[in-house]
């Protein structure tokens, strides 16, 4: 019994020291989002998220059949609402995605694709705390737009270049971005360049 208590005490003290060292390291480096989360943090956060999804969603099947029309609607929705962070192709390689903490996952990969329809739906509907993922849609299990998004997420790994080009036209753009695109296109076609380059592009997104 005494050895058990000593063992427990050592583990407890070691954990506290580990947390203190990690905490001191974080404070020293600041709470920047420029670094990607480490393996331990990602694993813990991912596990907590998995635990937090109610079990009934894990076996839930989509009520929507993935017809071309459904995938098209999902694509339009994705390009308009999701691509800013997740990118049109689901890679997460966007201006916002590259500096979020945690980074949006590459949704074409198995970590996402192996999630059940219900888990994807639950994540869209309820978001993920302490990340950049908000809760979309109305509470409940019958938001067809979110189910169509699930169908589109399943299609991400086989997205064609033609579909990607189409999506670029669906991405929301500010008047400044539209003007900037026109200036860049004009330059590529042989026209005069706008006065200052390079410059930081702070408001838009660049998703592909």
């Amino acid at each position: 019994m005494r050895r058990l208590i000593i063992g427990f005490g050592i583990c407890f003290i070691a954990t506290v020291i580990l947390i203190a060292v990690y905490g001191a390291w974080m404070i020293h480096h600041g709470f920047t989002t420029r670094n990607a989360p480490g393996v331990l943090e990602s694993t813990l956060a991912g596990s907590m998220r998995d635990f937090a999804i109610p079990s009934r969603y894990k076996s839930m099947k989509s009520p929507v059949t993935a017809t071309p029309d459904v995938q098209r609607e999902g694509m339009e929705h994705w390009a308009d609402h999701c691509a800013t962070c997740h990118a049109n192709d689901g890679s997460g390689n966007t201006m916002f995605g590259n500096t979020m903490y945690p980074r949006p996952p590459d949704m074409r990969r198995k970590d996402t694709q192996e999630m059940s329809d219900g888990e994807l739906y639950y994540t869209i509907q309820n978001g993920i705390r302490l990340s950049g993922m908000p809760a979309f849609g109305a509470p409940g299990d019958n938001d067809l737009d979110s189910w169509k998004l699930v169908a589109f997420i399943r299609h991400l790994p086989s997205l064609s270049q033609t579909e990607l080009s189409k999506m670029e036209g669906m991405n929301p753009k500010s008047p400044d971005e539209i003007q900037e695109e026109q200036e860049e296109e004009n330059f590529l076609q042989g026209g005069q360049a706008p006065p200052q380059t390079p410059h930081a592009h702070h408001h838009g997104k660049d998703s592909q």
Binding site: Q192, A193, T197
Partner: protein, 105 residues
Amino acid sequence: MKRRTMIAIFLLTCTSTLLHAHGGMVHVMGTVTGISATSVTVETTDKKAVEVLLTETTAFLNGSKPSNKDELKVGDRVVIHAVKVKDSLQAHEIKFSQGTSAPTH
């Protein structure tokens, strides 16, 4: 200091991650003056030499068509959308056109 420590410990014990922040995409516009295995050098329209690093995920577009690094040539006009990482630029997308030369001002 105490407050910051408490915040850090709270966040750690919650195994949490923090909220997102904005970043900036840098646009580099000019003419290609050099291409290597890992980077593209551009003379911008205001005559500055800018090196942009290539990554595995850098996308190439010849006009509006998907392309690759092999099609990019010295002398091509380019518009590069890049992410600033510390003191370097990493290319996210390189859009280029051939057969047009940059104005000399």
